[in-house]
Each structure stands twice: as structure tokens, then as C-alpha cells.
């Protein structure tokens, strides 16, 4: 008898613009001590599927159209709200993607931690507190007694997720629903949290439903994998068979996204330096008189037609490094030389004509495009401003740019909000190319995109670098992407360059301890 057995679940959303079939006839089961992974892109219905079991999908507009969910001898979908409440947080608990938004910022952690116990067990506050403290120690929070009264914002992301896990476990549930629990975390932290969940699962014989967009993350922990697309299960199976022999084209696409491999053939080395950075420092003064050394003494040279990866975790200073090179942030010290010109000494008006040689592609294609400008406006603006196109051929040039980045010509009058994330990123790339730059800094250009989209964008970037003889600095936290794209890699840790070298050499023999840790923590499929 399975712990949870879901049959034929359908959840639709009845909105003003029609019916959205978020979940269509999904069936699965989970046993005690077993992990079921549900994998799919955003909008595939993987989260709705889980939350609808607990009545946590807003209804209306949501409605459960059909299905059964047997749990502990009862059908969850037919429980009265009161009975369902007695199951939530008690027998079935959830942890969510971003503990920052999922923990109440107005209540202390201790208070939130005790709540499920106080609600579902007849225990005194004192007993609840004792149990909560014990559990905090178990999930690896040192000095729990002192931190009991602290608020969520006083903890780091990883610590918050530990608290979240403790909160889910406190009433000793039988089933844990984990919705992308590591997506918001750095790789090294992600590895720790995954390990923690596995340990606890083994100790308590928990059934776990692990929702993720990344096959590589679930590869090691899942007993079964469910692949969902557009509300339907397109494929299911044990990880090993699924990875070895994927049946559905969508599964193959997902696999390809996680199994990116290495760069095809490195181009013949051209040792023509384009930009030279020497002893670059960018320091900020933080409240309390502290100094944040976001970038601390970094030197590098970028050669023509080369892709240099800059890798680091959040807070490593990789974004600041990119912006300092482009003089979007004024460096504190050091030099940035483009051709024969020292950029750090120029004032804004002297810099302006040079800016067209240095362009940037941003992470969030939603925020990096002016929502009130059409594709034509966005692409024509740099052409006109730098007089790269005459009045007559500006349309032709915009169309050429659109062809270049793979946008349909018919979309020229459309506005950013009418496009998907991947298409928007193409517009942003087109805008960066419009000024015919020599150097482009791409700051996590694919990390805001859905799983199967990055591959297309990365291939576009590779093609454009070759076609336009660009030099690219590619900033990313994702090691597999960097390996796929970059000729050389610079590893950044707390503002300092800890290691740099040719990509494959670095992967084969990482020198610095931090690089080794980073490479080991990255989830891998093979």
C-alpha cells in the first residue's frame, strides 16, 4: 500500500481569458522512504499538482476537475476543509523554493517553528519550544537557543532553508513536498541542503515529492521521476532507465539542457588583446562604516574572438566586476585599457562615444528592456544615436539585426511584454550588437530563462561571437553553461580571482581549494 496514491488528477483554472488546463490526468504514487521527483519547466503544472492535493491552490479560479488522492485511507480531494487542515503541516508538510518569501518576515523564527506543533498536538509552548530547539540542532543550526527569537532576515539563504525544513518536520509528517527547495541557493549550499534532506528522509522513513526544473539536481536523490509538460505527464521511470533511454522528445530536451557537455572546438588562439584589466578594485562603503570589497585586485586580459567565463557564487563580485569593466560602476582603483585608452580616467562625457564599443547583456530580459519601446525603437535608438545608420536605411539595419538574432521580421512593431523571456533576451542581444561593439559583457544572460530556452540562446551567442568577431565576458554561476561556452575561465570568490585558466584544463585539474569545492558541488547527470 503506497503512502500516497494519486489517480487521474486534473486541475483547471477558469480565468477571464478562458480555461487553463494546469494539470491533466496525472497519476503517481509515493511510498514511505521513497523520493518521487516531478520535473518540468515553469508552467508545466508540477507545483499546482502538489499544492492542489493540500487545497493550497486558490479556488476560484482553480478547480479540481477529477481525480483521487488516497492518503492514509482517505481521499484528500474529498476532505472537508477542516479535515484537510488537520492533514496539512501534520501528516503532509511542504518546503518551498524561496525561504525568504515563504517565511513570515514579521514573526520570529521560533514562533513560526512552533506553530505546527501548537496547532496539531496538544502541547504546551514550553514543550514545543524544547522540541523546536532539538530539531534546529538536527538541521544544523548552531546556537539554536540564542537564535530562537531571531527574524528571517537575520539569516542567510541556506540557513533559512534549514529552518524551513525544520518547520516542515516538526509535527513529524509522513510525506514531505519539496517545491524547488534548492533553486534559490548557491551550488555549494544546494549540495548541503540536498544531503540534509536525504539524511532526514532515511532517518524518519519519509516519503518525499521533490519538484524541480533541473534533472541533474534530482538525478542522485530520486527513486522515480515524472516528467511533466503543459500539465501532462509525458514520461516516467527510474532515473537510470530514463537517462539512458529517454522516450519523449521533451525529456530529451530537458536532458540536453542538463547535460551540456563541453565546447565543441576551441578556435585557433588569436593573441590579440582587446581589453586589459590591471589591479581592478571596486569597493563600496556599507552602513556602519564597513567597506565591502566587491572586487578586490582582479587582473585579466581579454583577447579577440574569445569567450572568457567569470564564475562565482552570489556575492562573489562577478556582476560588479562586469559593470566595473564597462564603467557602469566607477572602480575604486586599477586600470581598464581598451585599445590604447585608459577608461578609468575618463569622465562621463569623454566616455560616452567609447561606450558603443563596450556593450552589456543583462540577466533579466523583463527588466532590461524599456516596456514602452517597440522592438524597432529599441534597436533603432543606438543606430541613430551613434549615427551608424542613415534615416533611410535604419529600417533595413534593424531588420538585419532581427535576422541576426533570430527574431521574426513581422515582430518589428511589437512591444517587449508581448514576447516570451527567450525572445526578449534576443531583443536585448540585438540591442547590444546594434552599436557593433568589440567587447560584450553578458551577466547571467540565461539564468532567468526556462530550462529548454538557454540552449538556444547559448548557441545564438556562440554563433554571434564567431560571426562578428566579438570578445565576450560571460558571467555565470552555472558551471555547466560556462563549460559549454567558454574558452577560458576565471573563478571569483569574495571579490578575488582565485584561479584562472583554459576551461578544460581547469575542469581536469582545479588548483585552488575553492574551485575544487565548487566543481564537486555542481550536480551532474553522468
Amino acid at each position: 500500500m503506497a503512502l500516497l496514491e494519486v489517480e487521474d488528477l486534473s486541475v483547471w483554472f477558469h480565468t477571464r481569458n478562458g480555461v487553463v488546463r494546469a494539470v491533466e490526468q496525472v497519476s503517481f504514487s509515493v511510498d514511505a522512504g521513497e523520493t518521487l521527483a516531478i520535473v518540468g519547466e515553469s508552467g508545466s503544472g508540477k507545483s499546482v499538482c502538489c499544492y492542489s492535493l493540500l487545497g493550497l491552490v486558490p479556488m476560484p479560479p482553480g478547480r479540481i476537475e477529477s481525480g483521487r488522492a488516497r492518503f492514509a485511507g482517505r481521499d484528500l480531494l474529498r476532505l472537508a476543509p477542516r479535515q484537510l487542515r488537520a492533514v496539512r503541516g501534520n501528516q503532509i508538510a511542504t518546503i518551498c523554493q524561496d525561504p525568504m518569501t515563504c517565511l513570515n518576515p514579521f514573526l520570529s523564527l521560533g514562533e513560526q517553528l512552533m506553530e505546527p506543533l501548537l496547532q496539531h498536538r496538544k502541547v504546551s509552548r514550553r514543550a514545543a519550544r524544547a522540541q523546536a530547539l532539538e530539531l534546529l540542532e538536527e538541521v544544523g543550526i548552531a546556537d539554536a537557543g540564542r537564535r530562537f527569537g531571531a527574524y528571517p532576515h537575520e539569516f542567510s539563504g541556506g540557513m533559512r532553508q534549514r529552518v524551513m525544513i525544520a518547520m516542515a518536520l516538526i509535527a513529524e509528517p509522513k510525506l514531505l513536498i519539496a517545491d524547488e527547495p534548492t533553486t534559490a541557493l548557491d551550488v555549494t549550499i544546494q549540495a548541503q541542503i540536498l544531503r540534509l534532506i536525504a539524511e532526514i528522509q532515511a532517518r524518519r522513513n519519509l516519503g518525499v515529492i521533490f519538484v524541480s526544473h533541473d534533472l541533474a539536481v534530482v538525478a542522485d536523490i530520486a527513486d522515480h521521476i515524472l516528467v511533466m509538460q503543459d500539465g501532462r505527464v509525458v514520461e516516467r521511470g527510474a532515473p537510470r532507465t530514463l537517462f539512458r533511454d529517454p522516450q519523449h522528445p521533451y525529456t530529451r530536451k530537458l536532458l540536453a539542457a542538463s547535460r551540456r557537455g563541453r565546447k565543441a572546438a576551441p578556435p585557433p588562439p588569436q593573441r590579440e588583446p582587446v581589453i586589459g584589466i590591471e589591479g581592478l578594485r571596486t569597493w563600496f562603503s556599507a552602513p556602519g562604516g564597513r567597506t565591502v570589497k566587491a572586487v578586490d585586485d582582479v587582473s585579466l586580459t581579454l583577447y579577440r574572438n574569445e569567450i572568457l567565463g567569470v564564475v562565482g557564487e552570489s556575492g562573489s563580485g562577478k556582476s560588479t566586476l562586469g559593470r566595473s569593466i564597462l564603467q557602469l560602476v566607477k572602480p575604486t582603483a586599477g586600470s581598464v585599457r581598451l585599445g590604447g585608452t585608459e577608461l578609468t580616467r575618463l569622465n562621463e562625457s569623454a566616455l560616452r562615444p567609447l561606450r558603443r564599443h563596450l556593450q552589456m547583456i543583462f540577466q533579466d530580459p523583463y527588466a532590461s528592456l524599456n516596456p514602452r519601446m517597440s522592438v524597432f525603437d529599441a534597436l533603432a535608438e543606438p543606430l541613430r544615436y551613434h549615427r551608424l545608420a542613415s534615416r533611410r536605411d535604419v529600417t533595413a539595419q534593424v531588420l538585419a539585426l532581427m535576422d541576426d538574432v533570430g527574431l521574426p521580421r513581422s515582430a518589428i512593431r511589437k512591444y517587449p511584454h508581448e514576447f516570451s523571456g527567450g525572445q526578449r533576451q534576443r531583443i536585448a542581444i540585438g540591442r547590444a550588437l546594434a552599436t557593433r561593439p568589440e567587447v560584450v559583457v553578458a551577466d547571467e544572460p540565461v539564468s532567468a530563462l526556462d530550462v529548454t530556452i538557454p540552449a538556444q540562446i547559448l548557441d545564438l551567442i556562440l554563433a554571434l561571437v564567431a560571426r562578428h568577431n566579438l570578445s565576450l565576458i560571460f558571467i555565470s554561476h552555472d558551471l555547466s553553461v560556462v563549460r559549454y561556452l567558454c574558452d577560458r575561465v576565471l573563478v571569483l570568490h569574495r571579490g578575488k580571482a582565485v584561479e584562472s585558466g583554459a576551461t578544460e584544463e581547469l575542469w581536469a585539474a582545479p588548483q585552488a581549494a575553492y574551485t575544487r569545492e565548487l566543481l564537486a558541488a555542481a550536480p551532474r547527470l553522468d
Partner: protein
């Protein structure tokens, strides 16, 4: 392939069009907008459509309830109430629009400068706004009106001078939020000049909230004028405004309730229309809704 490749280009839907479509679906806002157009038209056309002369009295008739000759009745001097409500509406609308324009001009300029320049300039400018906020402004306006006489221009300036504070804050907040947006950074890295960035990237994106707040400022300005006139500090007889009519009606409401009710209705109807339109605009222009 023949002809202009743009010929088959799909027509894009700009955010403005999008907002307009959303606004059109909001029945209350549409009703408010239509009512407002009607009221504005009445106010503009008053000199031609008012049924009686503004100064015409009929002492023999005195205060009479609504009738076929006087749709809204007459006051104690036998003056036609409809005529006076129409003329009063002219003044109320004029005050509403002019004072709001004053607030708009000062507020947007001040807010944009503070938000865009930032740093110490911003700190000083906003400090000043904070101080002004803490002043008992109502009292200052009353004082101004008492001391310098009931002057219409002064009334505009005084009300505008109070209302610009919130506008400045809203615009500054908006500009600050926009400045953090990556598309502004993108514009900087394209090498655009400051002025181009302000003109092409900042202002079009602050316009939404500014329009919304403007629509909501007009009713509060009209309210303020009515309030001052009610106290006898705003518009002076023989000129008329809704606040004055209400004040007069309140004195005689026991015997002649229509003298209170109809001017009150006119004021409330206008405020309703403006507020519903403003709310509708806010919902239509809210970028968070526009995202999905």
C-alpha cells in the same frame, strides 16, 4: 519577395493601448469618465445653457421647491438653483484643474530632479518636503485667505502648493525605482546622454502613476476649495461655488432641504466620477497587472 517587408509586420500592442483596453472593460471607470465629460461640458457651456440669468432674482417667489420652471427649485431670494449650481460647477472645475496643474508642474519637476540626481541633493530636497509635510497646512491656507483676502489666484496657488508634495514623492519614488532598472543601465551603456535617457526612458515610464495621481488629486483639490468656501474663506459671493452653496443650504436645510441636497449631489457626483476613473486608471496602468 516583393514590396516593403514592414507591410506584413504585425501591429504591436503598446502598454498604453493595453491599459486602454483594460480600462474599457471597467464599467465603473467608463461611467465615471463619461459622467466627467458630461459635467465638464456643462461647466464649459454654462453661459449659454443656464436657464436663467445669474443675477436674476424673484423676491416674490422666494424659496420654492423644484418645479417645471425651476428644475432644482429656487433659493430664498428666488434665484434659480440650477443656474447657480452650473455656475458654481464652473468655478469648482476651474479650481480643480488649475490647482492640480500647479501641483503637477511643481511636483513632477521637483520629484524628477530629486530622484534622478540622487545623493546629497536628493536628501536635502526630500528633507524639505518632510518639513513641509509636518506643517499644519490647512491652517496656513486659512491664514493666507484671511490675511490676503479671498483671491482666486491665491487660492489656486495655495492649494497647488499643498498638493505638490505628494506628487513630488510619488514621482521621486518612481524615478528612483526606474533608475535601478536594467534598461536604464542599458541606456547608459549605449552611451546615451543624460537628457536622452530622461526624455526617452524615464519620463514615459513615470507617466502612468502621474496620470493616476493627477486624476485622484483633482477631487481632493475640489474638496479643499469647497471646504474653504464652506468656511467662508474661499470663493466669495456674488461668485458661486458648490462649497458656498452647500454652506448656504446647510443654514436653511430645515425649511428648504433642496438647497442643500442638489449642490451636495453635484459635488458628490463629480467626486465619485473622478475617483472611479482614477481607481480604474490605477488598475489599468498598474505594471504588476500588465505583466501577466
Amino acid at each position: 519577395m516583393t514590396g516593403d517587408p514592414l507591410a506584413q509586420a504585425e501591429r504591436g500592442v503598446s502598454l498604453w493601448r493595453d491599459a486602454w483596453l483594460r480600462l474599457r472593460r471597467n464599467r465603473l471607470a467608463v461611467a465615471g469618465g463619461l459622467m466627467l465629460i458630461l459635467l465638464c461640458a456643462l461647466a464649459l457651456l454654462t453661459p449659454w445653457i443656464a436657464p436663467y440669468d445669474y443675477k436674476a432674482q424673484d423676491l416674490a417667489l422666494g424659496a420654492a421647491p423644484p418645479s417645471a420652471a425651476h428644475w432644482l427649485g429656487t433659493d430664498t431670494l428666488g434665484r434659480d438653483l440650477l443656474t447657480h449650481v452650473l455656475w458654481g460647477g464652473r468655478i469648482s472645475f476651474a479650481v480643480g484643474f488649475v490647482a492640480t496643474a500647479v501641483a503637477l508642474a511643481i511636483g513632477v519637476l521637483y520629484g524628477t530632479v530629486a530622484g534622478y540626481v540622487g545623493g546629497r541633493v536628493d536628501a536635502v530636497m526630500m528633507r524639505l518636503v518632510d518639513i513641509l509635510y509636518a506643517l499644519p497646512f490647512m491652517i496656513f491656507i486659512i491664514l493666507l485667505m484671511v490675511i490676503f483676502g479671498r483671491n482666486l489666484v491665491l487660492l489656486f496657488l495655495a492649494i497647488g502648493a499643498v498638493e505638490w508634495l505628494t506628487m513630488a514623492r510619488i514621482v521621486r519614488g518612481q524615478v528612483q525605482a526606474l533608475k535601478q532598472q536594467e534598461f536604464i543601465e542599458a541606456a547608459v551603456s549605449l552611451g546615451l546622454s543624460r537628457w536622452t535617457i530622461i526624455r526617452r526612458h524615464l519620463i514615459p515610464n513615470t507617466l502612468g502613476p502621474v496620470i493616476v495621481y493627477t486624476t485622484l488629486t483633482i477631487p481632493s483639490v475640489m474638496l479643499l476649495e469647497a471646504f474653504l468656501s464652506f468656511l467662508g474663506l474661499g470663493i466669495q459671493p456674488p461668485a458661486s461655488s458648490w462649497g458656498l452653496l452647500i454652506s448656504y443650504g446647510a443654514e436653511t436645510m430645515e425649511e428648504y432641504p433642496w438647497l442643500l441636497i442638489f449642490p451636495g449631489l453635484a459635488l458628490s457626483l463629480t467626486l465619485f466620477s473622478l475617483n472611479f476613473l482614477g481607481d480604474g486608471l490605477r488598475d489599468a496602468l498598474d505594471p504588476r497587472i500588465a505583466k501577466d
